[in-house]
């Protein structure tokens, strides 16, 4: 697993609350890895810890054998990017300017305008998310889904070897969700390490090569969707009873939910 991102015994605390408790898992280069688990499982904390946005209490996070949280910031920003869960932001930038933010780690303080390489990276990123014609639009005038795609483009403009995404398919219609996940799968195939937190288990099952399951700050399971997504795991982690079928076309797992499991039956 040295080729990718490796979490070893990662503990993160916020005050007295334990957010992550001895998490061991990893995401390999060239594969699309999904991070699943109920709300509050620690998915966001794990992604943030990798980029030193929350301090590690214990353990280490290495990417290609380099300790990621202790790396110099700018150097880290040139190999990794994070797409956060989008919130409301009053931003008076054009779509293209938002994507240009991704070039900040590559620009010197003396540089007053984007370099040709910056422009090329921004063009490529906008085209990759299908937003090239909307570059001149004001960020505020875009729909939630378009804004989300723009954030992915901003991350792509960083040309990251490690791409972390916190629920990038939120707010998107099903077509746009497929488009983003297909794009991420291509990035992974091209050699990037891609780790994304995702709520929709059927989407995760059909796109991800590998799944990591977190619950209550602990790693519960890691493996291919076929090995991880079992009725027993869905029952114990999510408290739902479900049948796991096989998609007739793709052969991937397909979850048919029966309903919640009552507390005393768990």
């Amino acid at each position: 697993m040295n080729a990718g991102l490796v979490f070893s015994d990662v503990c993160v605390r916020a005050g007295s609350a334990v957010l992550l408790d001895g998490v061991n898992c990893g995401a390999e280069a060239g594969r699309l890895t999904g991070l699943i688990g109920p709300n509050g499982a620690g998915k966001s904390s794990l992604l943030k810890a990798a980029l030193a946005l929350v301090p590690l209490d214990h353990g280490s996070i290495r990417f290609k054998s380099v300790d990621l949280p202790t790396m110099p910031r700018r150097a880290r920003a040139r190999i990794s990017a994070l797409v956060e869960q989008s919130g409301l932001a009053e931003v008076h930038l054009s779509a293209r300017e938002v994507v240009q933010l991704g070039r900040i780690p590559f620009q010197s303080v003396w540089q007053s305008a984007p370099s040709p390489e910056d422009d090329a990276a921004v063009d490529a990123a906008l085209a990759a998310v299908g937003m090239a014609p909307l570059g001149a639009r004001a960020y505020q005038s875009l729909s939630g889904g378009e804004q989300q795609r723009l954030h992915v483009a901003r991350a792509l403009a960083q040309e990251p070897q490690l791409l972390l995404l916190d629920e990038p398919t939120n707010h998107l219609d099903i077509h746009a969700q497929f488009a983003i996940l297909e794009l991420l799968r291509q990035r992974a195939r091209a050699g990037a390490t891609v780790l994304l937190a995702i709520h929709d288990l059927n989407l995760a099952a059909s796109f991800c090569d590998e799944l990591i399951v977190l619950a209550g700050g602990r790693m519960v399971a890691q493996g291919t969707p076929e090995t991880v997504l079992t009725p027993a795991l869905l029952r114990s982690v999510y408290g739902v009873s479900a049948s796991v079928l096989t998609h007739p076309a793709s052969g991937r797992p397909l979850i048919a939910y029966d309903g919640p499991v009552l507390a005393d039956a768990r």
Partner: protein
């Protein structure tokens, strides 16, 4: 909404020309009739350049000792306040932020009033500077006690400190000020550049050069704040260090400006908003333009303050507020249409 390299240079060139023209024209305006050529000749003479024999000693004194330092003070204060406002708005991600947000002006006012009342009117600028510094330190201390410099915490503690300092100022004025000192305090509280000399110009211009110009290089890092601290951090910005450095520098710069010109409101609030409509929000482009526009704006408002009701002089803060409030509303409406 953004400018490319060519138009960006042209805009900066045009604004520098406008500022130079404003400085000279503002010197010619006033009770004594002075021509623009006389201004150039006097400046050239004092700078030791060869040229025409300069004007009479009296006119020389009016130009060189009275009007020139004053327009330079105005330009420096305008540039500095506009820059501080733009930086505070970016750092706090709050469009209402201006240099006085963190309690700076009320702290400066308190310091100035204390020095005035203990009979040290000449040291009033020093009191203002100390007061602004103390207010900033208190605000940052409280922010830290609240758990770190987030935008809303800094603003909330600034408001608390501001209210406390204003109450203390009002109390002091109510308790002990008499006719003359009351008038002097009031004029200072509203902001006035009357009586500015070369020493003041030196303080203001040095502060703008030493504290303001280096802040221009934070432009790109400030852009990274558009989507918050975490986004900035993943773009390689040392968020905590940059925030403390810039807050500290804006406090020192504002302290120096307030010490000389008093509490001149609205410049730091509106100039960045107006400029953003023309240049877009990228700080690397926007900050220098804001400084130039702020400088010209302040030169003209101060000229208006001293000539509209001549020989009586208005505190320039009244003019900036009179112009500033409606402009601010127009800018808000324009933003609504754009977004």
């Amino acid at each position: 909404m953004s400018l490319n390299r060519g138009p960006q240079r042209a805009l900066n060139g045009a604004l520098w020309a406008l500022l130079a023209l404003s400085l000279v024209l503002a010197v010619t305006l006033g009770p004594a009739d002075i021509a623009a050529t006389e201004v150039w000749q006097t400046i050239a003479h004092h700078l030791g350049l060869p040229g025409e024999v300069p004007v009479t000693r009296l006119r020389d004194a009016i130009i060189w000792d009275l009007r020139l330092p004053r327009v330079l003070v105005a330009a420096g204060i305008g540039a500095g306040l506009a820059l501080c406002g733009a930086i505070m708005q970016a750092l706090t991600r709050n469009p209402l932020a201006d240099p006085y947000l963190l309690g700076l002006s009320s702290g400066a006012a308190l310091g100035a009033v204390v020095f005035l009342l203990i009979g040290a009117a000449l040291l009033m600028p020093l009191g203002a500077f100390a007061g602004a510094g103390a207010a900033m330190a208190l605000t940052l201390l409280i922010t830290r006690l609240l758990g770190g410099a987030t935008p809303s915490r800094a603003i909330l503690s600034g408001i608390a400190i501001s209210a406390l300092m204003s109450a203390a100022t009002s109390f002091l004025i109510f308790w002990s000020a008499t006719g003359d000192s009351y008038r002097e305090i009031l004029s200072w509280l509203m902001g006035s550049l009357s009586g500015s000399g070369w020493a003041d110009a030196g303080v203001v211009l040095a502060a703008v050069l030493v504290l303001g110009v280096p802040m221009l290089f934070a432009g790109r890092a400030l852009d990274a704040f558009a989507f918050g601290d975490a986004a900035a951090a993943t773009l390689g910005v040392d968020v905590a260090r940059l925030r403390w450095l810039l807050l500290g520098a804006t406090a020192l710069l504002t302290g120096s400006l307030v010490a000389v010109g008093g509490a001149i409101g609205f410049v730091g609030l509106i100039v960045p908003h107006v400029v953003r409509l023309a240049t877009g929000s990228r700080h690397r482009v926007m900050l220098p333009v804001a400084m130039l526009v702020g400088a010209s704006f302040m030169v003209w408002t101060d000229t208006a303050a001293r000539s509209l009701f001549a020989p009586r002089e208005l505190p320039v803060g009244i003019i900036t507020a009179l112009l500033g409030a409606p402009i601010f509303l127009l800018v808000l409406l324009r933003y609504r249409r754009v977004t």
